[in-house]
């Protein structure tokens, strides 16, 4: 079985400032009132601008994009947290905004920032969560113990979560999301702020869960995460989908996607000129006088020609690193901006 997700032409326009900003005036009520009406009209943020997606049952789907692209808003609409301005979303057969309760039963959510109940211990969080979903006492005790064990939290299970480190909170958030065995698991930037070791553990857990036939939706701005983890991806920027497909397909679609990073003993102008003339080369950059970045539509086949060019120019080639087409270059290609900007 497994549950798919359909998003139809989703738009979200925030027309009032976020609550915190609205209260910035706080104590100066009288003064703030007068100006507020004008301000309200000016404020309009189009977070999602016509997103349509089809996420298949049982796949790991990635939403990739820079901060503020609309990834989190998309997740929030799918998980009943934000009401869309227009458009519809379906989780399995249920329209999320018409059959909230049924949709909520099917989903588990790991938020971007841990929203654990700070008044409880780790085990209690899982037990209460199970209770919210109507599990029997025996069932939730067993599941909580299993999950605590799986996420290596057993020894801290009865401590208050406010004493937990960021990584532990993150693991507990995921454990909580899995507590009611949801068919679809949403993870909003799950590996932000995790150390590499914990990240690997996290990926392993996600893959394991996916093997049970569960659908997984993940947002990230880490290229390698999207690349290694996801079956399919959508790249989002400014509330629009700019590309979607499997990571391989997406990368193949980049023209001149290879990057050859070369190091020489020196880079004379003549060498730069020679490199630019090579077949398939679109751009050559040299940041300092010993290295050159060559953007080209091929990788390895270009090496002999580069060696020749270096000899002609009287330079010694010290090091070659070939970067395959990556999602980073894809994003650059589509938006003209780097993901990390």
């Amino acid at each position: 079985m497994g549950i798919g997700i359909r998003i139809e032409d989703l738009c979200k326009v925030y027309d009032t400032p976020p609550p915190m900003a609205a209260r910035a005036g706080g104590f100066a009520w009288g003064g703030a009132r007068a100006g507020r009406k004008e301000k309200k009209k000016k404020y309009e943020v189009r977070a999602l601008d016509g997103i349509s997606l089809e996420i298949r049952p049982g796949e790991v789907f990635g939403l990739l994009g820079p901060n503020g692209a609309g990834k989190t808003t998309t997740i929030a609409v799918l998980t009943t947290r934000v009401e869309p301005t227009s458009g519809r979303v379906f989780v399995g057969p249920h329209d999320v905004w018409k059959e909230q309760v049924k949709a909520k039963r099917l989903i588990g959510v790991v938020p971007q920032r841990p929203n654990l109940d700070f008044a409880l211990t780790a085990r209690e969080i899982l037990l209460f969560h199970g209770a919210y979903f109507g599990q029997t006492a025996r069932e939730r005790t067993r599941r909580a113990a299993d999950l605590l064990d799986k996420f290596k939290l057993t020894d801290r299970a009865d401590h208050m979560v406010r004493t937990f480190s960021g990584g532990m909170m993150q693991r507990l958030s995921i454990a909580r999301a899995m507590m009611h065995d949801p068919e679809v698991l949403f993870l909003d930037e799950p590996s932000a702020g995790l150390d590499p070791q914990t990240r690997l553990l996290l990926w392993e857990i996600i893959r394991d869960y996916n093997r049970l036939g569960k659908t997984i939706v993940i947002t990230t701005h880490y290229m390698e995460e999207a690349d290694t983890l996801c079956d399919r991806l959508a790249i989002i920027d400014h509330g629009r989908i700019i590309a979607q497909g499997t990571p391989q397909d997406l990368k193949r679609s980049i023209p001149g996607g290879y990057l050859l990073r070369l190091r020489f003993d020196r880079v004379p102008d003549q060498l730069m000129a020679e490199l630019r003339k090579l077949p398939g080369v679109t751009e050559v950059r040299s940041a300092d006088h010993i290295a050159a970045d060559v953007y080209a539509d091929r990788g390895g086949p270009l090496i002999p020609a580069i060696v020749n060019a270096a000899q002609t120019a009287g330079a010694d080639l010290h090091d070659v690193h070939i970067e395959e087409p990556s999602l980073e270059t894809l994003f650059l290609h589509h938006t003209g901006r780097s993901l990390r900007d």
Binding site: T80, V82, V101, K102, V109, P111
Partner: protein, 248 residues
Amino acid sequence: MLSRDGHVARRNLLPMLLQNLLQPLLFVFVFGRIMTTSGMMRPEYKTLLLPGIMAISMVLSGVQAVAMPLITEFQFTREIEDRLLAPMEIGWLAVEKIVAGMIQALVAGLVVIPAGWLLMGSGVNLSFHQPFAFVAVCLLVAFFSAAGGLTLGCRVGQTQIGLMFSLVLAPMMMFGCAYYPWSVLKAFPVLQIAVLVNPLVYASEGLRGSLAPQAPHMHMAVVLSALLVIDAALLAAGLNRFHRKAVS
């Protein structure tokens, strides 16, 4: 799903009670014991005061029991989200908060009676000859304090908790006819009308009417219908606020 009401309430009960009861009990002691024993107040004042203190402690704890956790849970940590994602309509979560607040308000109110009795010593004349009116007033008061807490809690940000106390709760307590019956305000006609918007007035007058019928108080029918109207209005406002806050 209902069992959660109990969990959430029990979790907060003890510190909440301490927090809410200390002030009213100090009032009971100072006004009810010191002032009367020293002769500055007439002993009958004790009977007048106790229902008022009870009203205050019910309203305070009801409002706080709902508003305070809501304010923190709706902070950027969004602790409440795990419950918003539970498979039920989110309106029920608001109702759950109200029920939990009502329970705390009732407990806080009922604790005041024996505690006040002990602190004030002899001379308190409470009658329980109107159990039905008493229970009705208690429930309605608990309900409006919890629903009011919901409205406030969804409206006020964490930075404004102090402001909420000085702007909303403090005048409400002072002009809530808790320390004096409404009828003594005859001397200040404008004030007497103005305080009628204060729900605490009906709470204290209602409790006074049912517990100490010999003391001056408003007509019970007026009290009950006013409380009903306030309950309905605050419930509607609270649910509306809650939805707006929970779903952006």
